[in-house]
Structure formats: C-alpha cells, structure tokens
Symmetry: C3
Amino acid sequence: MLLTIIYIIAITAEAMTGALSAGRRSMDWFGVILIAFVTALGGGSVRDVLLGHYPLSWVKHPEYLVITTFAALFTIVIATWMKHLRKIFLLLDALGLIAFTIIGCQVAIDTGHGFVVASVAGILTGVCGGILRDILCNDVPLVFRRELYASISFVAVVFYWLCSTYANLALETTVLLTLIFGFTLRVIAIYFGLEMPKFIYKDDDESSASSKDEH
Amino acid sequence: MLLTIIYIIAITAEAMTGALSAGRRSMDWFGVILIAFVTALGGGSVRDVLLGHYPLSWVKHPEYLVITTFAALFTIVIATWMKHLRKIFLLLDALGLIAFTIIGCQVAIDTGHGFVVASVAGILTGVCGGILRDILCNDVPLVFRRELYASISFVAVVFYWLCSTYANLALETTVLLTLIFGFTLRVIAIYFGLEMPKFIYKDDDESSASSKDEH
Amino acid sequence: MLLTIIYIIAITAEAMTGALSAGRRSMDWFGVILIAFVTALGGGSVRDVLLGHYPLSWVKHPEYLVITTFAALFTIVIATWMKHLRKIFLLLDALGLIAFTIIGCQVAIDTGHGFVVASVAGILTGVCGGILRDILCNDVPLVFRRELYASISFVAVVFYWLCSTYANLALETTVLLTLIFGFTLRVIAIYFGLEMPKFIYKDDDESSASSKDEH
C-alpha cells in the first residue's frame, strides 16, 4: 500500500524528468508524452519482458499511462518553474529509484528467482527507464557517468535481501527500512558528489579499434 | 483480406525507407537488410513482446522476412531512381502508418484490452519501426520532430475505436473507413506542413543539468 | 558439452570487449559491468524474447552473470595489457560469433521453427550483443560497417542447416564442423580485410530528407 503510493509519486516524478529531456531536444508534444512514458514505465517493462512476467504493469493498470501522460503535459505547462523545483525533484527521484528497485526485486522473488536474478531485476527496474530515455534522446546514458546511482540500487537490493531472508521481518517493515536506508545513501551521494571509480580506456591505435569494435 | 494486402504493401514500403536510411549511413548489404527488417517489422514486434502476444508475426509468417529482404536488395538496385519516387513513397508510407495502427489496435482488442492499451498498441505498431531505425542509425528519432505523424496514428485509433464500439459497423467497413480517414488526414498534414506544438526547454545552468539528467 | 565450454569462453571474451567499449566512454565500474553483461548475453536475450523462449539463459543460469561481472572487473585490472592481447581476442571473438550462431540456430530448431526463422535467430544471437553495446555507447553499430561478420554468421547457419538436415551427421559432429568452417571463414575475412559491398545513398535535397525520414 505504502509502496503503491510511493510508486505513483515515483512514476510521476520520472515522467516529468523524461518530459524535460524531450524538451531539451525540442520534441513535439507527442514525443514528450512518449519519452515520459518510457522513462517512468520502461524499467519495469524491460524487467517484465526479460523475466516473462506478463501482463506488464501498465497493461494491467492502464491508469499509469494516464498518469504519465498528464505528468508530461503538466511539465510543459510549468516548465518555466521547473528550475526552482530542482531539489524536490532530486529527492523524489531518489525515492523513486529505491521504490523501483524494491518492486523489481520483489517481482523476481515472487516468481521464484534467487539473489543474482533478483538484484539484476531490481537494478534494471531502477535504471532502465533513464537509459531508454537517454537512448531515445540520443545521449550516452548518464546513469553510469554521474554520482552513485546504479550502485545504490544494488546496495538497496543487498539490504532488502538480507532483511527479508535473514531478519525475519514483516514485508512492510523490510520495505520501509530499505526505503529509508537507500534514500539516505542517495542523498549522501548527491550532497558529497560521491562517484564510482571510472574505467578510462584509450586505444588510439587504428588497427586496434578496428579489431575490437566489430562484433 | 484487404488489410493483409495493404499490410504487405506497407512493410515493403517501410523496408525500402529503412534501406535508404542505412544507405545514408553507408552500411553494408547485411546492415541494409537488417535495418529494412527492423523498420518494417519492428513496430509489430515491440507491440507483441510488450503484450506477450506470441508468436510474433514474422515468426508465424517467415515470408514477411523474405519480402523485407527482397525490398532491401531491390532498393539498392533502384537507389538512383528513388528520388523521383519520393511522393509515391510518402503516400505508401501514409497508408502503412494507418494500416499498422489498425492492426496494432485490433491485436489489443482481440486480446481483451481496453481503449488506453489499444491506443498504445496502435501507436507503437505505427511508429516504433521508424524509431528503432533511427536509433540503429544513431539519430534522434524523427517521428516526433516533423509533421503530424504519431498524432494521426492516435486520431485513427480514436476513430477506429468509436466506429467499432459504438457504430455497430462490420469489421471490413470500420477498417476501410479508418484507412480513408487517417490517410486523408496524413496527406493534409504533409501538404500543409502541419506540426504538433513543440516543447522547447533550456537549462544552461550546469548544476541543474547535472541534477536532472541522472536517473 | 563442447558447445558449453566454447559458450563460456565466448561470453567471457564478449564481456571483455564490452568492458573495453565502456572504458572508451569513461563509464564508471557499474556501467562497465552492465555493458559487459549486455554485450555477452544481450544477443541471446533478444532472440529468446522474440521467440518467446523463456526463461532466458542468464535467468536459468545466473552463474553467467557472475562470469560476465568478473570478466568486466578483470578487464579493468588488466586494461593496460589488453593492447597486446588484441589478436587472441579477435580469435576468441570469432569463436564466439560461430558458437552464438549455432546456439541461436539450435534454439530455433528445437522450438520447431524453419530455416528462415532459424537463420534470423542465429544471426541475432551472434550480432545483437555488439549492436546493443554500440547503441548504449551511442555509436552507429559497427557490425555492418567492417569486415565480413554478420554474413559469416549467415553462412554458418546455412552450413549448419545443410549438415543437420541433409547430411545425417550426429549433433556433435555438425557443431564441430560448423565451428571449424565458420571460424576459418572469419579468420580469412580478417586476414584479407574482406568486406561486404556497401550501399551508399545520398540525398542532399532537403525536402526529400524531410519526406523520407519521418516514419
């Protein structure tokens, strides 16, 4: 129940960030609506398609599509004020990341998968919407180039897994604890600008580029 | 039956536009064949995967793959004449857009979905092929930056839905009416250069970009 | 059995080439792990999703995810030596291409499909990982712009199909023969720099671009 409320807040927030990205590329209103939809519901859709978990959430609950559509149109209306809401958005997005992660993880557990698949499902749900948005807007996905994001999703999965497997806690307690834990981590990461170490590889040698790039 | 004939014309036309896009990127023949396949059959495949509607059309009818392959090779042969066929292609493509939309919409109806999911299925079938083509050719998808296109797909869905739900018409009549209606709209949109309003959003503020881009 | 060993070598090699691509884009460690995973297991996942062949291989065998993760981290550690291992990688990748192709083809045959679908399944398994990697790294997929690659996958499918349908050979013999045949072809293609003919299409005419690009 709590998770549903947070989920709806999260898809609204994600849809609005998607709409802003579409606006940066000067897309028309239909493009804005589509990118909002993909950003908000794409992560869960990728997870469900990969796990064969049908029907997808927005097919079962078409009202989610209505929510993301209104969120996109609302973003167009209030675009000029969006700059001032930046911090609120960052917090909503952090909440959304953890909520998406928990939901993805729980779907994998409910369908009988173990830790490895559950963590992939959790992370995919958390980050794939943003990756699809960046691909559609023709950017290199930013998820893996900024402050800790996917890694917090992973840590939240581990925390959630430990709580639900070993700690014998009720589902609601586990969800709430993971939300607080992951949200706090993300806020700390943003505040201090924490980043994962980067892997920087250069090979200017032409034949090398040719040999490694082509499969 | 009528719809099948139009569908085959449509996938041929779409495959040829895909082949031209691949040619603009100087791809080799295999790339041309793949992009043609994805442009023609990608929209329906995305819809079927999202709805869990198996087998996909080209798995059930492998002859569609043969058609798109020949269309791609034929495009390579007649490329120098393609410029003069531009207007015919625009019309075939308009026909294809409406045919794809109707088919996508009907698949959703047949599998028991309501208006919201049917309209998403219709629009995805109509526009996803072109979006996948543009992603593979590393462009920002053009669907949402030119004259009315996805929105005509949506209007066709509404028209089709109203006809089939409220007007008590036979399926063939509904299909034919929607084809004529949507095709006319698209031709009008091209002729007058009608466009959706665009959402243009700029935030040059660096910290803002950093905060909003990363999920 | 032989195929399983070669498959594991292949996903390791592919994961490492994916990790190098991510490194060229200066991604963080999580991005490197994700791109490695997508490069190694994306082709098979696309095939299984399109054929409705669940569960996906990495869902059934989560240890594959562990392998690609370690391959990615290992690549970060030995990156400075990678330049000297270039030729070994090319050979491992050639082996992987043929192994992926055979596996994809066999999955399609096992699920009752004919030659056309089997060849698409084989080629997709062989080349889609690299295509997804290039999309995530925001490149035009290189598969279709370098030496013979996808076409060798296709020739291997034809060879495999002929052996298993007409030659009455045991499965192991067919696999081994196809591996040797395809691997040799690929090595010849690399050595002599053989390429498919390219389709180069230019239309500088603005209205033409506008008319053909938008669906």
